[in-house]
């Protein structure tokens, strides 16, 4: 077993666009669940809208990359409003079911042959990278140390993603220490109390849904930036993976989503190297493919253990999670 390669891949993956995209999506989910108490299980839908909005704007309409990102943001806002109107007045478990259903509607529509002209149905989209890469200010070449050695283009998508994460963190930090954020946390703790103070609870929830949704869509864009957009990626399980990352770090904390995403993908990349290698060595009684899938069993178990024994996550404070009941 080659420990060096496994560790190298793990460390490298902790700074991959997928990890950075997960940071943004988990941050958006923190706004939904951690701060507003909304059980949004449709994050995959927001991420799909972000990624498809970006890719389709460039491929079908010839937008420059920054305008395509604006399209993604507008798409997420519209989706959040459409999703919020029927659901935000409902109890938590209804919201969970409807958000999953809405995200599946989005995925099925992107995957359908009906819109093949724009979405390329099940094959997905690719080859939209030129515009973003032409804006790359980093000179040609390969930079970095150890496992984090990337080409100029690879650095550009990573650094841009991290820049978005920093912006998102700043936004969430400013919002949550503002009066608006305090009202939001109040809604999370006791909706009726806030309503009796004359606040429009519905409007606050809607705003939180929009802000978190936009962060999720940007996460989808960052994941899609250097790669391709495949409809099968945006299954409900993607939402659950983001949830696991969020709950690992701490749902009602600022840096919890960031830490959670890094740890989640670190562990996943480590296991993706370790488990098949163990199977090949004969230490696990299964094929290397099955061993690779075994990490998703561990994800499920980790999610269960986290929720049962440490719902506040690694960074959280248990008092902040009394609303989870």
């Amino acid at each position: 077993m080659n420990w060096g390669t496994i560790l190298d891949n793990t460390l490298s993956f902790m700074l991959s666009p997928e990890t950075i995209g997960f940071m943004l999506a988990a941050l958006g989910l923190a706004v939904h669940f951690g701060y507003a108490g909304l059980l949004n299980f449709g994050m995959a839908g927001f991420m799909a809208i972000g990624a498809y909005g970006y890719a389709i704007s460039i491929l079908s309409f010839g937008f420059p990359w920054w305008a395509a990102m604006l399209v993604s943001i507008v798409g997420a806002v519209i989706f959040a409003i459409l999703l919020g109107i029927p659901t935000l007045k409902l109890r938590g478990d209804y919201l969970a079911i409807v958000t999953i259903a809405a995200a599946e509607i989005v995925r099925l529509l992107f995957q359908s042959r009906v819109f093949d002209e724009w979405t390329n149905s099940a094959d997905g989209l690719g080859g939209y990278h030129d515009s973003f890469r032409s804006a790359n200010p980093i000179p040609e070449g390969t930079f970095g140390i150890g496992p984090w050695e990337f080409t100029s283009d690879q650095w550009w998508s990573r650094l841009f993603g991290l820049f978005l994460v920093a912006l998102g963190l700043l936004l969430v930090w400013l919002l949550m220490r503002s009066p608006w954020g305090r009202v939001l946390k109040g809604i999370r703790e006791d909706e009726d109390a806030v309503r009796s103070l004359g606040k429009n609870v519905y409007l606050y929830k809607m705003q939180a849904l929009i802000i978190g949704g936009v962060l999720g869509a940007l996460g989808g864009v960052v994941i899609a930036l250097p790669s391709a957009v495949i409809p099968q990626y945006y299954l409900p399980s993607l939402t659950f993976f983001v949830w696991t990352a969020l709950l690992l770090g701490g749902a009602a904390t600022l840096f919890g989503p960031i830490l959670g995403a890094v740890l989640y993908w670190g562990v996943m990349a480590f296991l993706a190297g370790l488990l098949p290698a163990m199977a090949n060595e004969g230490w696990l009684p299964m094929s290397s493919t099955a061993a690779g899938n075994f990490r998703f069993v561990l994800v499920g178990l980790a999610l269960m253990l986290l929720v049962a024994f440490r719902p506040q996550g690694l960074l959280g404070n248990k008092k902040e999670m009394t609303f989870v009941k």
Partner: protein, 449 residues
């Protein structure tokens, strides 16, 4: 859909072949009547044609589906060949089994055409552009005529609606079996159980496993249903009862079911791999029931079984003591507890019944899809939720009605929308119901917080 021949189809083929052989024998015995060879492809051809190029093929009515098992041979259709100048050079008629062969005058470029006037009424040729094909001496090229593929004219819209509604009822009954269990579990414990999908898959996998061990399929299904009931019981005993005792919140429990669903699904993937396996008897011959509705034996048994089980569950809920207690607990847990009902034991029974029902519907869903796959349960999970929400969360009979509506809607909507987005309609209904009647069809207003 398997491309394998079903036994009955093989039998039909064999029968046609036998008929052909008898025909040839008869020709041999009584001397060939003039033109008789035309109807018997591959039979005695004049010796001078041994080197002549040929076109051949089989005419089959595809019935507007991709399913091969419902294809029917089309006999008595005139097929002609034209040369490059458009002159007719050969003519034949398709045989009883739909096969035909044209003997061409020599090497060259020819076009095979169907004489549309000789087609049975209502059947149309899908591909209308015959392409010229070049053949060499001694060559025999297969020419395909798409009959009844995709567009099938003899089926009226009304017939289609009838067929699809029937398929919808079949599908709806399968969903109903699961959703009644899911709704009862929600009603008695407040738990939104996303892992119900894995209980569905579990039943199908156990049935397959038992059948592979050599049990007859009916016994395998019985074992699978019992195992699923035990699975439901142990799921509750190992996980949910201790958590209820700890007073863990419902939202936490819901996220826990999602973790359990993920873990369970990937355990199935590790055990049975990513492929699809079939239970025996899948995709048998369909018998005509009435009008355009055709059902295979498995379909009929499946529907009958679903109805029987649903009736039994209804009787249990309405007439037995424990059933009444279950409804009382579903209605109001505290009140039921205060009036002396053993709420914990009712919950246990509901988990066993919910598990067994999910397992049974898993087996039926495996026949309906068809095939057993590691994520087959998740594929219908949202439809089950849609059915439960449409009927009213926590109401068993609401779930039943909701399931039938969702099943019929999913199937009939394919008349107007492409089938790859047929679930979108049902999920849309879920959203719309919540917008206008969040308590569902049979729910009561105060249930929705």
């Amino acid at each position: 859909m398997t491309a394998k021949l079903t036994p009955s189809r093989q039998a039909r083929r064999a029968g046609a072949l036998l008929l052909l052989l008898c025909g040839l024998l008869a020709l041999d015995l009584f001397g060939a009547p003039p033109g008789g060879a035309q109807d018997a492809p591959g039979g005695d051809e004049p010796a001078q044609d041994a080197d002549a190029p040929r076109f051949r093929g089989t005419l089959e009515d595809k019935k507007g589906t991709r399913t091969r098992s419902d294809d029917e041979p089309v006999a008595g259709v005139v097929i002609i060949a034209r040369d490059a100048s458009g002159e007719q050079v050969a003519e034949t008629t398709s045989a009883e089994d739909g096969s035909w062969e044209l003997v061409l005058p020599g090497p060259g470029t020819f076009t095979a055409e169907i004489d549309a006037d000789t087609l049975p009424s209502g059947l149309a040729l899908t591909e209308r552009d015959p392409r010229p094909v070049t053949v060499n001496a001694g060559e025999s090229k297969i020419q395909i005529f798409e009959l009844g593929a995709r567009t099938r004219n003899q089926v009226t819209t009304f017939d289609r609606i009838l067929q699809l509604s029937f398929a919808g009822v079949r599908f709806g009954l399968i969903i109903a079996i699961t959703s009644v269990g899911l709704s009862l579990i929600f009603g008695t414990t407040g738990l939104t159980n996303f892992a119900h999908a894995e209980m569905v898959t579990f039943g199908a996998i156990i049935a397959l496993w038992m059948w592979n061990l050599g049990l007859p399929i009916l016994l395998a299904i019985v074992v699978a249903v019992i195992a699923s009931g035990l699975f439901g019981w142990s799921f509750d005993a190992a996980l949910w009862r201790p958590l209820r005792r700890r007073g863990i919140g419902l939202v936490q429990m819901m996220i826990l079911t999602i973790g359990a669903s993920l873990a369970g699904r990937y355990i199935f993937l590790i055990f049975i791999g990513g492929g699809t396996s079939q239970l025996p008897g899948t995709g048998g011959v369909r018998h005509q029931i009435f009008g355009p509705v055709k059902l295979s034996t498995v379909d009929m048994v499946s529907m009958g079984l679903s109805l029987l089980v649903l009736l039994a569950v209804s009787y249990w809920l309405l007439r037995t003591r424990i059933g009444k207690a279950t409804r009382a607990v579903a209605d109001n847990r505290q009140l039921a507890s205060a009036s002396g009902i053993d709420v914990e034991s009712v919950t246990r029974i509901v988990w066993v019944i919910g598990g067994a029902l999910a397992g049974l519907s898993g087996v039926l869903w495996a026949y309906f899809r068809p095939g057993i796959k590691w994520d087959m349960g998740v594929q219908i999970l949202l439809l089950i939720f849609a059915a439960v929400v449409l009927g009213g969360l926590g109401t068993a009979f609401g779930a039943l009605i909701g399931s039938l509506v969702i099943g019929i809607l999913v199937e009939v909507s394919t008349l107007w929308i492409p089938s790859d987005i047929k679930y979108v309609g049902a999920l849309g209904v879920l959203v719309i119901v919540l917008l206008f009647r969040p308590q569902g069809l049979l729910g009561r207003r105060e249930r929705v917080g």
